[in-house]
């Protein structure tokens, strides 16, 4: 029981990372980005290719993050920025991200020949850390540490730094931010880049956990990310971490007490249920106080 709770937290750690990336994009750009699932995949593939070319793991991870960040920025600079400038409806933006998702996904599928690739995990932490009678896999422990660290850094950055304030201003109103001297496009690009990096990080942890990687791995993670931000309140940094951990626990307890079959369905049920009952998320803040 205690072990299963630890399992839930371990599972939730990666979910939190996912949620942080989406919440940042959502909070700043107000875009529900389906292409995010492919940022996850492209980032992980970037790391895979780097590792295969004998780049040390730590640098390979950084390369993967940069790849996803650059892809995310590229998509934003081309498709999204163009649409934003024309004042396209959020409706059309969502659909465009679905289109981008499909393009990126089919390219990844083609490049990987639809194969499930082996993700070398030699350079990642393995084994587990025993705490009393429970044990926590080192990989998940690392991912937990990183997501909490990212939460703290993001929180500090957004609330305590000049650039963070500018980001929140852009998130609230880009035209106003521009009037105050903020280059809103640069801020958008920065937020999108960071969000892409976080997507990659989550994808890399996921790949290392399963030692495999395929072009479709991001799909389920995207749904998880959506569930996390709905649970935690869209646009809330703290909520993303809490939401991630909560979802991990819910999934593990569902597996334990109901069936592993439903751990997937419960994710969607949570999204629908929370949206119906508390559209601002279980741990969410009011719309005005986002990011």
């Amino acid at each position: 029981m205690l072990q299963q709770t630890v399992n839930g937290i371990a599972l939730g750690a990666t979910y939190s990372l996912l949620g942080l990336g989406v919440t940042l994009i959502w909070g700043v750009l107000r875009v529900l980005n389906f292409a995010y699932s492919q940022f996850i995949v492209w980032g992980a593939f970037g790391t895979l290719i780097a590792i295969e070319n004998h780049v040390p793991t730590v640098f390979a991870v950084l390369i993967g993050m940069a790849v996803a960040g650059v892809v995310a920025v590229f998509v934003d600079m081309t498709v999204m920025q163009f649409m934003r400038r024309r004042g396209t409806s959020e409706f059309a933006l969502v659909v465009a991200t679905i289109g981008v998702y499909y393009i990126l996904s089919s390219v990844a599928q083609d490049r990987s020949k639809s194969q499930i690739e082996t993700f070398p995990i030699g350079g990642f932490p393995h084994g587990s850390v025993d705490i009393g009678s429970t044990s926590l896999p080192s990989l998940q422990l690392l991912s937990l540490v990183i997501s909490v660290a990212v939460m703290i850094v993001l929180g500090y950055w957004l609330n305590r730094t000049r650039l963070g304030r500018a980001t929140r201003t852009v998130a609230y109103s880009a035209p106003t931010a521009e009037l105050l001297g903020v280059n809103s496009r640069a801020i958008f690009a920065l937020a999108v880049f960071v969000s892409g990096c976080l997507a990659a990080l989550a994808g890399i942890f996921n790949a290392a956990d399963s030692s495999t990687l395929s072009y479709s791995d991001g799909d389920q993670l995207l749904v998880v990310a959506f569930a996390v931000i709905v649970l935690g309140g869209m646009g809330s940094v703290k909520g993303a971490v809490i939401g991630g951990l909560a979802l991990g626990l819910v999934q593990v307890y569902t597996t334990l007490y109901v069936s592993g079959v439903f751990s997937n369905a419960i994710t969607y049920l949570l999204i629908v249920g929370v949206l119906i009952v508390r559209p601002n998320g279980l741990f969410g803040v009011r719309e005005e106080a986002r990011v």
């Binding site: 201003t169 009037l179 001297g181």
Partner: protein, 230 residues
């Protein structure tokens, strides 16, 4: 010195400005008067880069800024306090002020903030309140103070008196008068002509997107009051 040359602004098929020319000299207060929908706000938006002009030029100390991004124009010294105050509601008053000083050198920010709080005393007590929960008058003060935090050479203010009680409007006006003393030019857009005339040396009247009349407040004062204000 700010010079507008035949400025034309369009929104789709609608021509909001149809060739406006005017000059704002250094250390001057120019009031732009006119009825609702005359194109006053569009003019300010064009100056600050929020809207790209369809035709014409905007020269700032000889530089053409008519196609520049707003954040670059601010760096050249033109601040724009838009209509409706554009509060960043989720940020606190202090954070709003800090945002106003986004381009100001770090060493001068604290000093600027102290001066703004001196200029607008009601803000002092509300520094850690979110801007969204301020009263209309306080929001207007914050908007102007935020605009001044960037130490502009010219500040363009859109309808500062809108929605304010007369007493509050007077306070805001008094603060504006103090700004002028520091050497900052003011381009003031107002519907409340009586208020504007008290502050401005020069007056431009805009109607239907065109300049209807221009001159000093003494020259135009009575006519304007008669024509545009009951």
């Amino acid at each position: 010195m700010l010079v507008l040359e035949n400025l034309e602004v369009r929104y789709g098929k609608i021509r909001a400005l149809r060739g406006v020319s005017l000059t704002v000299p250094d250390h001057a207060v120019v009031a732009v008067l006119g009825p609702n929908g005359a194109g006053k706000s569009s003019m300010l938006k064009a100056i600050s880069g929020t809207v790209r002009p369809f035709a014409g030029r905007i020269l700032w100390n000889g530089t053409d800024i008519s196609r520049m991004a707003p954040h670059k124009i601010l760096r050249l010294g033109i601040a724009h306090v838009p209509e409706g105050r554009a509060m960043i509601a989720p940020l606190t008053v202090e954070e709003n002020l800090q945002m106003g000083a986004y381009i100001t050198p770090r060493s001068e920010i604290d000093d600027m903030q102290d001066r703004m709080l001196e200029l607008f005393p009601p803000l002092k007590a509300r520094l850690s309140t979110t801007a969204g929960s301020l009263s209309g008058g306080e929001q207007q003060m914050l908007a102007i103070a935020r605009g001044l935090m960037s130490k502009p050479k010219l500040i363009a203010i859109d309808e500062p008196s809108m929605g304010l009680a007369p007493a509050v409007a007077n306070d805001v006006l008094a603060a504006l008068a103090a700004i002028v003393q520091t050497g900052t030019s003011v381009l003031l857009v107002e519907q409340n002509a009586a208020l504007a005339l008290r502050l401005a040396h020069d007056v431009v009247v805009i109607g239907h997107g065109e300049v209807q009349a221009a001159g000093t407040s003494e020259e135009l004062g009575h006519d304007i009051l008669a024509a545009y204000v009951e």
